[in-house]
């Protein structure tokens, strides 16, 4: 009975709300209510997976791989906001991973800044760098933007390699453990939960953005900058905004990677890493939140699974990626969603 009471109250409220809205009997508005409730629905399967997976894991190794999937899912999601939604390419996003990673490495060791604070400062530093670099770079379009961001990523990797006093140079440096409330974060299972929850938080924020005035403006810019401008959208400002947000996502993933591994080298911000992030976005599905995770899963899990092919590992991986792109042109999640009559992903 006491269990039912809140339900009853909810129904009553619902009825009152419906009655209040009854004045405008627009079908459109009713449909919108449905959509509003659906804003976060694409996360339901992901939440289910997060909860079920540990039941299937038989060793720490599985936790570690899954943690890495969520970690790269965060980075890919950030890049997807830029590429898939706003339509702006970046081939240098690993640079932001590097900033996040070195922040949690250098902050505590060189300046005595607590790891958690270093983590936040790293995200803020990435935002600042994205803001400063984005202004001139985002005026460029398509291939020119691609090459400019590529240059930015390479530049950062060189800085991390050359500033050996701070970064340990090409050999890298150790990263102090993250301690939360006197509790050192250790062990693959702990990181699994941290990263899964972080990904979900990131996904909720991304979905919020996509369904907001700013998000609509960004998606409009993707399709027609001219029409967007004529409707009063400040295209340069919106692009810069999403570049900064995207950088923060990627930077946070970089910080997590450094903390998870306990060691970093400049490779974290290398060109190959940037390409890998782009591949995750395109493979999983441009403009798909769930696709970012699926793309990350493919590129994290496949190389592990393919080790049995020995020296042909990379050949097989390359073939699979090519095959996916040929047969699922829109990326895995949007293509499958379309094939099974689903709506948005």
């Amino acid at each position: 009975m006491s269990m039912l009471a809140p339900l009853e109250r909810f129904r009553l409220l619902q009825r009152r709300r419906l009655a209040a809205a009854g004045a405008s009997k627009s079908i459109l508005l009713d449909r919108f209510r449905l959509l509003r409730r659906r804003r976060l629905i694409s996360l339901v399967p992901i939440v289910a997976i997060v909860i079920i997976l540990p039941l299937l894991f038989s060793s720490a190794y599985y936790y570690r791989v899954a943690a890495l999937v969520f970690l790269f899912g965060i980075a890919a999601l950030g890049l997807n906001l830029l590429m898939g939604f706003a339509g702006q390419v970046s081939l240098g996003h690993a640079g932001f991973m590097g900033i996040g990673a070195y922040a949690v490495a250098i902050g505590p060791t060189a300046f005595g800044i607590p790891p958690v604070l270093s983590f936040i400062l790293g995200a803020l530093l990435s935002a600042l760098v994205a803001f400063v670099v984005g202004r001139p770079i985002l005026r460029l379009k398509e291939h020119y933007l691609a090459v400019a961001t590529l240059g930015f990523g390479i530049l950062l990797a060189i800085v991390f390699t050359n500033e050996a006093n701070w970064t340990g140079g090409p050999d890298g440096m150790a990263v102090p453990q993250l301690i939360l409330f006197n509790w050192p974060l250790r062990g693959a299972a702990v990181w699994y939960w941290i990263l899964a929850v972080s990904f979900l938080v990131g996904a909720v924020i991304a979905l919020n953005l996509i369904n907001s005035p700013t998000g609509r403006a960004l998606r409009a810019i993707h399709d027609s900058e001219v029409a967007a401008r004529v409707l009063g959208i400040d295209v340069a400002q919106k692009k810069l905004m999403i570049f900064v947000i995207s950088a923060v996502y990627t930077s946070i993933a970089g910080s997590y990677l450094a903390l998870l591994d306990g060691y970093i080298t400049p490779q974290i911000s290398g060109f190959l890493r940037s390409i890998e992030l782009v591949a995750m976005v395109v493979l999983g599905g441009m403009g798909s939140v769930a696709g970012s995770l699926v793309g990350a899963a493919v590129l994290v899990i496949l190389p592990q699974a393919l080790t049995l092919f020995d020296e042909y590992e990379h050949v097989v991986l390359g073939l699979i990626v090519m095959g996916v792109m040929i047969f699922l042109r829109a990326g895995i999640v949007p293509s499958l969603a379309a094939a099974f009559g689903g709506g948005r992903s």
Partner: protein, 262 residues
Amino acid sequence: MSALSAERLSVAFGGVRAVDGVSFDVAAGIVFSIIGPNGAGKTTLFNLISGLCRSHDGGVWLCGEDVTALAPEDLARRGLSRTFQNLQIFSHLTVIENVMVGRHRHEATGILADLLHLPAVARQNRGTRKAAAEALGRVGLGDAAERSASGLAYGHLKRLEIARALASEPKVLLLDEPAAGCNPVETREIEAIIRGIVADGVTVVLVEHDMRLVMNVSDRIHVLANGRTLAEGTAVEIRTNAAVIEAYLGVRGAREAAGAVG
């Protein structure tokens, strides 16, 4: 006070004088049409007015305010809106989302509110959607609201652009060939839509090749040829103007245009 004034607008592309010293005044609340052969410079003139293209000379005034050097987004915020001859649809968005983007200048949530989906954003979204649904209804696309914009037929996309521009609640609306590719029935519907827009007090500047439509709805007509002004006047004055008949209408066109009123 005139809603829109253009003075000596001029621009050249690689030696071609696309628009060459064009001036006109559009009184508030009327339909002002710009006609002329293909390549006459009509679309370029719209680009100059809406800030997508810079004039070498002269200037533009919107409701008395000098808006000559303003960017398109700033002009939009001052109440100028337009559609495009070669459609500029947001094809990844649904039909209603396209129109919701038209509400952008009336939306006032911050980025943090947007990221956190604060109640203000939900409220904003609801208001925007309601206004967009109304605009869609005005162009007869209410039933297509939740469809993907990329799935609409050409004629409907033209109307979608009108709804999107209307949603921004412009003072002055530039329509670039809204009836192109439309059958006679659809053209009649476009005519009704234009009349409805003007009835709401919006000033309409229309570029259109369908002479029946132009002659029916226009309060004034401005004729361009090779980037220059050929004539300006009322419908009757224009369809009986010898220079206009020779350069653009032709004898048959003039007769057709005359038939429009009857």
